[in-house]
């Protein structure tokens, strides 16, 4: 999801500022980027959470039952109030990555998969290390935060945009992926266990989908996924330079949202190096 303003509810202001720039970047580089906004709803019992969410965020309109029905006809009559973040967007991460690889290939950049190589052994004057959690050998303050998600197929519900359902324990969202597929995510657990999704998490995620629309009760479970998000103690990404290696890491749960900004920081670090090499007097200054 490309939801900088929704993320503001629980993250640093910098995430919203940098993430907002990512919306245009993805739209310009990946044609599959959808900008239909995000709808935020809550069960009646969690109505107070909706008010609190509104208090922590901006760039939204309050949506009444009619507006919700107009935005998402399948949710008509199910929620009385919600928040609509019209400027936000979403994309299918796997398709987006594949598109980036294709684009690099068009520019003559070779991409090799399945290569086992440490940054210090890599050839070249500069190495950009984006190994995520595998870079812990170089970045000891990096930790893994477990996330779990479910992909279901449901032909009886159509959503035009990601829907966030406020939940007391999980930042929960349901993202339409087309062809009846929906991604339901995602737990956030301070654990570095990489094992399969737990029953508890699966139940919480599936329950949320069911609460959003009972038709999800008949959905097929296509995928249950779990992995670790790399994070620094402040949960914000960093670019660090050590000799000829530039480390870019710690994107936490904002990989697609903050990657354009992080890439720009890496590019700045590299171009500064290049400029310094071209103009040695600047280095002395």
């Amino acid at each position: 999801m490309l939801a900088p303003w929704c993320e503001r509810a629980t993250t640093d202001a910098a995430v919203a500022v940098k993430g907002a720039l990512a919306l245009d970047w993805w739209a310009g580089h990946f044609p599959g980027t959808v900008r239909q906004g995000t709808l935020v709803v809550a069960q009646p019992r969690d109505a107070a959470d909706l008010t609190r969410f509104a208090g922590r965020t901006d760039h939204f309109d309050w949506a009444d039952a009619d507006r919700i029905a107009a935005l998402e006809p399948d949710l008509a009559g199910r929620f009385r109030r919600g928040l609509f973040f019209a400027g936000e967007g979403h994309l299918e991460p796997r398709r987006a990555l594949a598109a980036l690889v294709e684009r690099l290939a068009e520019h003559g950049v070779p991409v090799r998969f399945g290569v086992d190589l440490l940054p210090e052994a890599a050839p070249g004057d500069l190495v950009v290390d984006c190994r995520g959690l595998a870079a812990r050998d170089a970045l000891p303050d990096l930790r893994g935060v477990r996330g779990e998600m479910v992909v279901v197929r449901c032909r009886d519900v159509a959503l035009a945009r990601p829907v966030r359902m406020l939940h007391p324990r999980i930042p929960l969202y349901i993202v339409p992926r087309g062809d009846g597929l929906f991604m339901i995510g995602a737990t956030m657990i301070e654990s570095e266990q990489r094992g399969p999704v737990s029953v508890r998490s699966a139940v919480e995620l599936l329950n949320a989908a069911y609460a959003l629309h009972p038709a999800f009760g008949e959905a097929e479970i296509i995928e249950l996924g779990a992995d670790l998000r790399p994070a620094f103690p402040d949960n914000l990404p960093q670019v660090r330079r050590e000799g000829r290696v530039v480390h870019a890491n710690g994107l936490f749960r904002h990989g697609f949202l903050l990657a354009p900004d992080l890439a720009r920081q890496v590019a700045d670090a590299i171009s500064m190096e290049t400029n310094d090499a071209d103009f040695p007097e600047r280095r002395r200054a």
């Binding site: 629980t10 993250t11 640093d12 208090g55 922590r56 930790r143 893994g144 477990r146 007391p168 657990i189 301070e190 654990s191 570095e192 266990q193 094992g195 994070a231 103690p233 402040d234 949960n235 914000l236």
Partner: protein, 257 residues
């Protein structure tokens, strides 16, 4: 104030979950001057100590860790988690939670008493998360608990003290047992109210962790706890039904015709 012989200056205990980041958690703990933090093992554990990175960050705060059995729904689960906590954190302290109802996270007081007995006999120093029920409290003390942690309101509800009468009554019945209001506090005035009742301390998590500015809110709670305690020691007035004017009304100059 002392818990199981450990002297503490701060009467505010904080949880460590749901903060925007471990860095903000660390700042909030510092701002609160809390000396004890609770850590949940149930979700952050896994069989291979998968929560180690986060626990290391918590340990680095230099405060005393009170591991808890949050999320345990049975005596067996709670006892197993307590053993794991003792090994991981090298402490006999355990905040015992046995949840009886998934929605409200209300304690299963029957399982709680049973688990408290098992763990106390096994050398643990148990901090049971309970209701304000006097009889349950009595059974917990009988089972070996030397600290009681009654709820203010259901976990995360931010409702404050739901049953002031019950909490007062508990305080009166157990003058020698440290009592900590745990759960349900939303704003600092709730904490002050608990301290004004003569409670020894308060424990909270969500009210700080999910505040817009957790660090400022941690400080606000610390101030409220101090204010409430100071007020309690200063012997506040009891409420009365009728007004009690502080200046005499007889003999006042009256304007008339």
């Amino acid at each position: 104030m002392s818990f199981y012989g450990v002297e503490l200056k701060s009467r505010l205990l904080l949880g460590t979950s749901r903060y925007p980041s471990p860095a903000i958690l660390a700042e909030a703990i510092k701002a609160s001057a809390a000396e004890v933090v609770t850590v949940s093992l149930r979700r952050e554990s896994g069989s291979d100590r998968a929560g180690q990175s986060f626990w290391s960050l918590v340990r680095a705060l230099g405060v005393r860790v009170l591991p808890n059995t949050a999320g345990c729904h049975s005596v067996k689960e709670a006892v197993t988690t307590a053993h794991m906590a003792r090994e991981l954190f090298d402490t006999k302290w355990i905040k015992l939670e046995v949840i009886g109802e998934s929605d409200t996270l209300q304690p299963d007081v029957f399982g709680l008493v049973e688990a408290a007995r098992i763990l106390s006999e096994d050398g643990f120093e148990v901090f049971p998360y309970t209701t304000e029920d006097l009889v349950v409290a009595d059974r917990l003390v009988e089972a070996g608990c030397r600290v009681l942690m009654p709820w203010g309101a259901p976990i995360g509800s931010a409702r404050g003290l739901n049953n002031v009468y019950g909490l007062k009554s508990l305080r009166a019945h157990f003058p020698g047992i440290p009592l900590v209001v745990d759960a349900g506090l939303g704003v600092p005035s709730h904490a002050a109210a608990a301290m004004e009742l003569g409670y020894d301390a308060v424990l909270l998590n969500t009210a700080v962790a999910e505040a817009g500015d957790p660090v400022a809110m941690a400080r606000a709670f610390a101030l409220a706890v101090e204010a409430g305690r100071t007020a309690y020691l200063a012997q506040p007035l009891e409420p009365r039904d009728m007004a009690a004017p502080s200046t005499p009304v007889i003999g006042k100059a009256a304007l008339g015709d």
